[in-house]
Amino acid sequence: MIRSRILISGDPLSLARGAEETRLAIEAELSFLGLDDEVEVGYVGQVDRTDMLPLVMVYPEGVRYGAVKPADGAYIVQEHIYKGRIAEHLLAPPETLSGEVARLPGREGAQYAQKRILLRRVGLIDPLNIEEYIAHDGYFALGKALSEMQPDDVLNAVKESGLQGRGGAGFPTGLKWSFVANQTGEKYVVANADESEPGTFKDAMIMEGDPHALLEGMALTGYAVGAREGWIYIRGEYALAHQRLTHAIRQAEEYGLLGDNIMGSDFSFHIHIHAGAGAYICGEETALLESLEGKRGTPRIRPPYPTTRGFRGRPTVVNNVETLANVPPIMLHGAAWFRTIGTRRSPGTKLYTVMGDVNITGLIEVPMGITLGEVVDIYAGGMKGGRAFKCAQTGGASGSIIPAELLNVPMDFASMADKGASLGSGALLICNEDTDVVDLAYVLVRFFKSESCGKCVPCRVGTAQMLEALDRLRQGYARSADLQRLEQVATYARESSFCGLGQAAPVPILSGLRFFREEFEAKLKDFSL
């Protein structure tokens, strides 16, 4: 009989800091004391802090030790498990809470501030153990769909839920699915797990901490659109997520929850993983499909869209990991329930990675429509050192710069678009008053220049020219004519680039000029008041 459970943080940082050795030390001591039958040891993908890793959590008491060195592993077992007293001096100090999965303190008047949908299992279950996923409603949605619902019912539930793509564009998911469902023949489901927007690591947290959620979401998608095969295109850098997903797929197949005749039904669905090799552009869905076919990841012309001609030229649903992870809860609780969360135009929750000059950085899940000001004040614990907020950069590199004037705008796809800003992929880089906007734009454009695939001229040449002009401006060599030209090139690149990368590259410049023009002008050589 299991009477205790010890969970060790198993994220990359913890592993880098010796979590594996700590685990081995704990297991060795348990076995020495003959307690290995009574105590279960496992990893959790992510914990809510990064300052005290590796963290060791002992349940049912919920005691948290950190940072635990391998040498302390045996001591914790002796004290806590064997003698039943808490090893006080090894406790993780609570006052510096910070981290990758931030807690969600209730906000006055906000009914759903505590609602965790996508992250509810992350950090709670052992991602390597399918039974724990099942015990927390896992594969229940798939079972319900296969036994009680027709594919059309699944599709309609997603349509009615108002779920929008979480990769950045906010396209209605149900509508995208219906394009594929309407066609006959071989079709595919592709999970876009290429998450390469700088500052975005939300999908990694789902895949590392709750990998089956993605698999179940994909299987439901396959059932709804009539696909029998799914692919996860995961970025090459995500070794841990890759490993966890591979393990999860194998387990799900063993349990008959993936593969042929799932749960004894007529529905079969196989999932494969394909790892990228380092190319930002592969997050663009058509470039991703090219790469999935073993080619250079350069974008295809659209239309035809992937829903018509996608992977291997067949109709393909390409959805972001976060989008797919929303599908099981929608099946389980219904579209009406989903619409009670978030805003009317953008239902549901959104994951944000919060970084920069704030007290608490990390990943949060909040209802759509929470304002940037609320994120900074409530979830991020305010600005670091009491400095003033200057701007935020959203959605990784392709997001826009958001000035203080927009702190009170609800964050959902439509409201941000109304203000000429973009929610992007959910990264929030918060910058304080000391930030040099021109320098920030330079760093952002440098990223696009190095990631431009080179297929089209406006992006390939435009990013180089913009970067050069920004460098001159930054160093104080530019004149007003240079700034005019910069703005002109940025506009051309925005309007004429082939894909989203080239169209996004000038955004830091254009939105910077829009909100902070005087700072750009102040750097001109011939500047005068």
């Binding site: 500052g199 090459g236 090799a277």
Partner: protein, 159 residues
């Protein structure tokens, strides 16, 4: 030596069923085994898949995790994206260049270190971040960088 290369390459490619769709993944694995992708290696891959050499080369040169030239004994990949930059990345960048005496993109003359940039490695909450081989180091300061480099140097000398 040549025979050895062919064996390794074919072994990996057979595991992927010599499937052209798996080209990127095969190249990654060959890269890992062989340390880098030489022209001869790429030609071998092209022959096996019955693809033009130019196509295989174009794929190999496209992805940043595939190396077309040998790297140093340790490879530092420093994240130069905005979140790490805002967290104080420039000072780290300068420290690395100063300590190793090479600029980004280069390998030290003794072949010990390659200094490369990388795009986001998803550890932004603890930026600035760098990777040395497969290890991630976060919350970097110039002092910490010097400390880490010294640790590697000691370990290498100590054998």
């Amino acid at each position: 030596m040549v025979k050895n290369t062919a064996e390794i390459v074919h072994q990996i490619m057979t595991r992927y069923g010599n499937d052209r769709e798996a080209l990127v993944e095969m190249l990654r694995e060959i890269n890992r085994e062989m340390a880098y992708l030489s022209r001869e290696t790429l030609a071998l891959v092209a022959d096996t898949l019955k693809l033009p050499y130019s196509q295989v080369y174009s794929v190999a040169s496209f992805y940043s995790m595939l190396d077309l030239e040998p790297r140093g004994q340790h490879v530092i990949k420093f994240c130069q994206d905005a979140p790490c930059h805002v967290a104080g990345g420039r000072a780290i960048w300068e420290t690395l260049e100063h300590e190793l005496g090479v600029s980004f993109g280069a390998t030290t003359p003794d072949g010990a270190w390659s200094l490369l940039t990388t795009s986001c490695i998803g550890a932004c909450a603890v930026g600035p971040v760098m990777m040395i081989d497969d290890e991630i180091y976060g919350n970097l300061t110039p002092e910490r960088v010097r400390e880490i480099l010294a640790r590697y140097a000691d370990a290498d000398i100590g054998g």
